[in-house]
């Protein structure tokens, strides 16, 4: 697969200014995004289940350049959403799609190996991963150490692509499983839910990594969480300020979140940041039959309206 990807990338170099792909990080367990501008840099390329990052995040800031980007199924939804919102010029982007069987959550691997330094990691044919540490070797299964999003993945093959590396895969996961955890959470009582969120958000250190990693958070340096005028949230580290920050993030992504899970991957405190956005997505699906990042012709539901809303009933007191 790596070899075929190399060939495809070599073939697009003449058309683009930069290729976004993956290279080896500071150790065997980490892969990091790389920007290749010269054909000889192709030797840096790495492709394995550790390539979890959503590289499409860089596309809006590279809007004026010609860019080739390596995408998995879930990442391709981000591109579609960018197209819906007019954040990229599709003709400036060469999408190299790779059907994906699931990626690895680095945190889950570290948890399995008791945070021992990783000496080496190799990947088998059928999703088995052998991890070598100073304390010996351990074999893990991809299905045990993948992020939660992979367990219910509906789009293993990219939705849009210009070149496809490998054969398309169809999902064997039931569509009902996608929001099963959200529906289960709704069975709790109001008090339990409030307590849950207070506990989770209390751990937040306001590093804003979730926002910075989010491909759909396009305000970035103009984020209202940091402006002083209007002063939405103060610098105090109280629960209500943290709660408010997460509400800003969730509500600005209402009906736009493509559920790539980058926010949760980036969170150093393990807060389920994506859950609120997925709840809103579930509502948008029920109310307007809309799913973000599926069809470039769609319009995000909160950017538009119908004069007669069949699904919104007037509320009585």
């Amino acid at each position: 697969m790596s070899q075929r990807l190399r060939e495809v990338i070599a073939g697009v170099f003449s058309e683009v200014d930069v290729v976004l792909a993956y290279q080896q990080g500071f150790d065997k367990l980490h892969v990091t995004p790389c920007f290749m501008t010269m054909p000889e840099e192709i030797n840096k390329l790495v492709w394995n289940p550790l390539c979890a990052h959503n590289l499409t995040s860089y596309l809006p800031s590279l809007k004026k350049k010609k860019v080739a980007v390596v995408v998995k199924g879930c990442d391709s939804r981000t591109i579609v959403q960018f197209m819906e919102e007019g954040l990229i010029n599709r003709e400036n982007v060469v999408i190299i799609g790779i059907p994906c069987n699931g990626v690895i959550s680095v945190n889950k691997v570290l948890h399995e190996t008791n945070h021992e330094p990783i000496e080496d990691i190799t990947f088998g044919e059928n999703g088995e991963i052998s991890v070598k540490t100073l304390k010996g070797e351990k074999t893990l299964l991809l299905s045990d150490v993948c992020p939660d999003k992979c367990k219910t993945c509906q789009y293993p093959t990219p939705i849009v692509y210009d070149r496809l590396v490998g054969d398309p895969i169809t999902s064997d996961k039931s569509p009902d499983s996608v929001y099963a955890d959200i529906k289960e959470f709704e069975n709790k009582t109001l008090e339990e839910r409030l307590q849950y969120w207070e506990q989770e958000f209390d751990r937040c250190i306001r590093c804003y990594a979730c926002r910075n990693a989010c491909p759909m958070c396009i305000c970035q340096d103009s984020c209202i969480a940091e402006t002083r005028d209007p002063h939405w949230i103060s610098q105090r580290s109280t629960l209500s300020e943290k709660f408010m920050f997460h509400m800003i993030h969730a509500l600005h992504l209402a009906g736009r979140c493509v559920e790539c899970g980058e926010c949760e991957r980036a969170c150093p405190m393990g807060i389920p940041v994506n859950k609120l956005k997925r709840k809103i997505n579930l509502d948008m699906k029920e109310l307007f039959g809309y799913e973000p990042g599926i069809n470039p012709e769609d319009k995000p539901p909160l950017y538009t309206f119908k004069v007669d809303e069949a699904t919104i009933k007037e509320h009585k007191i």
């Binding site: 509400m247 800003i248 609120l276 109310l287």
Partner: protein
């Protein structure tokens, strides 16, 4: 003044300048008796109401939030309340997920001539929030 006998709670009302604010004024001019828990914030249009306004109010001490705009198709700016309707409905469904009772938040449409309807809405909503009690009781008990 209040016809509901209890400690006054904090209810924030975001009212559209062109309809509901006029409706509240009509109710006042007509000397309709109303509960006094509501603090009114006048906005140019219900479309101006960012769902974050409501969240911010609820997180910072309000016990209930009422949003009222022009009836659909009657918006002064043609379509502001259509956008508002989608956003507010989204928020109404999100609040219980956070553990906040969705009955603490209400949005409705009231025109400038509907003074009596305004009085009814405020009275009913205040009554409902009083039944639910203060939102931040737990925190106030342990400062």
């Amino acid at each position: 003044m209040s016809d509901i006998a209890a400690r006054e709670l904090r209810i924030v009302g975001f009212l559209c300048n062109w309809c509901s604010y006029g409706g509240a004024d009509t109710a006042g001019v007509s000397r309709f008796k109303q509960p006094t828990d509501l603090r009114i914030i006048r906005v140019p249009c219900s479309g101006r109401v960012d769902p974050l306004f409501i969240v911010k109010a609820l997180l910072n001490g309000a016990d209930g939030v009422l949003v009222s705009g022009c009836h659909p198709r009657d918006c002064h700016y043609t379509d502001g309340n259509f956008y508002a309707r989608r956003r507010l409905e989204m928020l109404k469904r999100l609040l219980p997920f956070l553990g906040i009772d969705e009955r603490r938040f209400h949005y409705t449409w009231i025109s400038a001539s509907e003074g009596a309807r305004w009085q009814q809405t405020v009275t009913d909503f205040t009554k409902r929030v009083h039944e639910l009690g203060p939102l931040h009781a737990r925190k106030e008990a342990t400062p």
